[in-house]
Symmetry: C2
Subunit: 293 residues, 2 copies
Amino acid sequence: MEFRQLKYFIAVAEELHFGRAAKKVGIAQPALSQQIQQLEQDLGGKLFVRTKRTVSLTDAGKLFLNQARLIITQADYAVDITRQAFSGVFGELVIGFVESTSWDILPHVIEIYRKRFPNVKISLQHLHTINQIEALQNGNIHIGISGFPANNPNLNFHIIRKESYWVAMPKEHRLSEKQNIFINDLKTEDLITTNREVGAFYYDSMIKMCMDSGFSPQICQTANEMQTILSLVSCGIGIALIHESAKYLRSDLIYKELLGTNRHAYQPSFVWKKDNISPATKCFLEIALNLYP
Amino acid sequence: MEFRQLKYFIAVAEELHFGRAAKKVGIAQPALSQQIQQLEQDLGGKLFVRTKRTVSLTDAGKLFLNQARLIITQADYAVDITRQAFSGVFGELVIGFVESTSWDILPHVIEIYRKRFPNVKISLQHLHTINQIEALQNGNIHIGISGFPANNPNLNFHIIRKESYWVAMPKEHRLSEKQNIFINDLKTEDLITTNREVGAFYYDSMIKMCMDSGFSPQICQTANEMQTILSLVSCGIGIALIHESAKYLRSDLIYKELLGTNRHAYQPSFVWKKDNISPATKCFLEIALNLYP
DNA sequence: TAAAAATACTCCATAGGTATTTTAT
DNA sequence: ATAAAATACCTATGGAGTATTTTTA
């Protein structure tokens, strides 16, 4: 049984005339007769009752006509949505993101993307940068939005923006009097940081920055989320090194830029595989990179 | 797109290895590669990501795999039920019947048939003999069960049995005293008969029988159903010429055989088209004719 | 007699085979 | 070096064409 034969069969069933049906499907009448005969032989019985003047469907033929239409419809649909998948307008997109990108970048890019590609199902996964790299490589996510660019030979990245370090402190803190804050001012301060596993790049970068200035930072407390860290700062437990966009999470603190350093506290980036990216991924990246050139 | 290609594609998707998949579907590896390439070209994109060592499905490939399986399942099902239709175990059977066959023949044959062919949908239509003939010819019914054999060049028939005329009368009727009743005894009796259109054959046959004996019957009343006729007899309105099986419909009357005639009051028969009968019809007839040889 | 399906036959496109090449591990 | 997919090329099956026959209304 072939698709061709199903289409021919449907044509004959609709026309009930081999000559007209042959014209309809664009072949010669004898070829059509042969194909129908072959189909009948395949199925093991007659689909049509032919006299030399009239053609009509047998009971089994009527049954098979419904089936043939179902098959053709199903096949056309399959081709259609697969082509859509190739074009990127249909499919699935799994996006991994770090907490800090969920404040502005993630909702922004998702909103724009959804408007253009409403038929792509988006799944979001909260993943730390290191896990995004792993998930990208074994195909669990299509796109990563990480706090720092991934350094991996199989991955591409695009830095969204670079933010410097800021110091978050309570209103009554003594450093709030100072005009300019440098790294050495933190030597004797209690610091609240993230756990290293939450963002090793950020953590190590901060440690190195201190070490380069000749001291080892006093980490009095760690937490997993920025909101928690700022709450701890607010309680007077210590001060925190944050990046600029985290300023807007909490308004009861004083924020001052850390001067005299060329390091960046935060470089939110899109990350994706170098090869075999899906059309939906490609379309997403096109929008995303256009949004944050 | 061809069924062949779908099957090959499913095999490769399952094995994720062209060599093994080729063996599985029974062709050589290069032929398989070519067919998959052609399918991909048809669809307009890659279904697999190939490195020289590994094969994996693209996102669109995963989508198309589900679709391909649906199509193949649908096609297999179509072939299956069509073959069943050819064998007579699946399909539809529309049976026309006259009232008098619904007392014993119809339920009997249907019961036996349903046991053997539970997947054939049976529709019953109450039709007079003349309408059965018409319905058979334009394909509205597959089988007719009529009170008399149809006389039509396009139809075959099989007489189930032959029943002679009987006279139905109330207990107190004067003819109930008589030992033997002949046609001439009815000359002066009020007769209750069916309307002619309900069974022209029966009606005309009865009229002719009287005319041959030299009188025109006194028809005092007509009715459409045998039950009604017997009720009217019971009321003393008149007597009725019935066939033997109708005796069992009502026990408060006296029934006596009409002697001295070789005519038959009733010849219930199966009727069907001479050609292009469906497999289900053929199977039904086989059972029916075997049941009433 | 004419319309329409089937048959006879011819041709060529292509599915599938074998041999070989390419490439990643 | 090897495994595995792709490429090159060849063969033959069968789909479709033209010409003709058969059949019945």
